[in-house]
Amino acid sequence: MKSTNPFALWRWEDLFQNFDHFGSGFLRTLQVAILALALSLVIGVIIGILSTAQNVILRSIARVYVEIFQNIPLVIQIFFMYNGLAMAGLVLSEFMIGVIGVGLYHGAYIGEVVRAGILSIPKGQQEAAYSQGFNYTQTMRYVILPQMVKSILPPLTNQAVNLIKNTSVLAIIAGADLMYAADSYASSSLNYGTSYVVAGLLYFILCFPLATFSRKYEEKLKKNDAMVVDIPEVME
């Protein structure tokens, strides 16, 4: 007679016999997270720079992008890409939906982080760069962006943690990620307890080091009286 305890030993045995399930889900989550993070960094830097531009039109474009992506739930955005776009003839794989959907969403948040970072650099820096003959692009590339990297690193790392967690939204569209793997194994074997614990542990292994780094680094910056970008409106 098998024990009915949700964490009984036989359930753990069964799970580890099916561990490749979790392994491939973990790998998929990692791939989606890395590509989505790359995409969101690119978008974030572009949006951040646009939102500090002189030109009103460029600033408005950045504003509209940020507001749209921040104020509509990720679940809706992902569903829309999955059903809506497919009906309109644009069929994307679940993998691509994960990368693009999560990337576009977090791009808006990273854009706000970058904007706050740029604004935290004293104006004199830009004027000094111009006086030395740097043009706008060179000023951004060689003077402003390198200086703000340090101060935006903690909120940026928090974004990476949230991004990893948010890739789990793929489970809702059967995206073969870790959450989906855990859920499908759980519902086929009825080993819910063990399955969710292992999935949680795997997410934790990814997120905890990043979150800890972010906190420690921020504490260090504060101790050294360095600039820390603190932006309550970018909390996701």
Binding site: A182, D183, G193, Y203, F208, E233
Partner: protein, 219 residues
């Protein structure tokens, strides 16, 4: 187009969607209130009790901050016996949000100068009186923008409950989606969902920004 609008936004459909919206908003409200209470408690314990309870609070916060919300929703739904899926799903959202609020509260507490404690102590305030009358009011004033931001996030997070089949706003939209066939109708429904969420969250985010702008000088 007009035909699509007429098929999608019939009176029963609209009532159904608004019902879902009400569910989302009621869940959000309950979750916010409860998680501010639990989150404040956790934040205080983590900050001022460095022994067993402080460690436990840290463990709780780190655990929930580093694992996905959906995992907790599914876990609560399948592992807690009895009750309805709506209660279990909302419980998960509450436990998760409380950890985030705890970190916000802790950030606020850290910004209060140590001298406040000493001054209160010299006036005969006990530790708990100091917290209640001196530290917490100042902390909350500081963290209002972050908390409001978290309200937005929580409203958006209720959409994850659609993954459990709970009839909140997103899920009721999906049900209507299941009844239509034309592309224009599908787009209309997604558009409607997006616009409603947008109006609610954008309004709140404008409040956050204004508060922050108004108070960033003197807090």
């Amino acid at each position: 187009m007009i035909e699509s609008i007429q098929t999608v936004f019939t009176q029963p459909n609209l009532l159904f969607l608004l019902n879902g919206l009400r569910t989302s908003l009621v869940i959000s409200l309950c979750v916010i209130i409860l998680s501010i209470l639990l989150g404040t408690l956790l934040g205080l314990v983590r900050n001022y009790e460095k022994k067993v309870f402080g460690k436990l609070a840290s463990f709780y916060i780190e655990l929930f901050r580093n694992t996905p919300l959906l995992l907790w929703m599914l876990g609560c739904a399948f592992l807690i016996p009895g009750s309805t899926i709506l209660v279990k799903g909302s419980l998960a959202l509450f436990l998760y949000t409380a950890a985030v609020v705890a970190e916000i509260v802790r950030g606020g507490l850290n910004a209060i100068p140590k001298g406040q404690f000493e001054a209160a102590h010299s006036q005969g305030f006990s530790f708990f009186q100091t917290l209640l009358y001196i530290i917490l009011p100042q902390t909350f004033k500081k963290i209002i923008p972050s908390l409001l931001s978290q309200v937005i996030t929580t409203i958006k997070d209720t959409s994850f409950l659609a993954g459990l089949g709970i009839m909140e706003f997103t899920r009721s939209g999906q049900v209507i989606l299941g009844k239509v066939t034309k592309t224009s109708e599908v787009f209309l429904i997604y558009g409607f969902l997006a616009v409603v969420y947008f109006i609610i969250c954008f309004t709140l985010s404008v409040l956050v920004r204004n508060w922050h702008k108004k108070n960033s000088g003197n807090v």
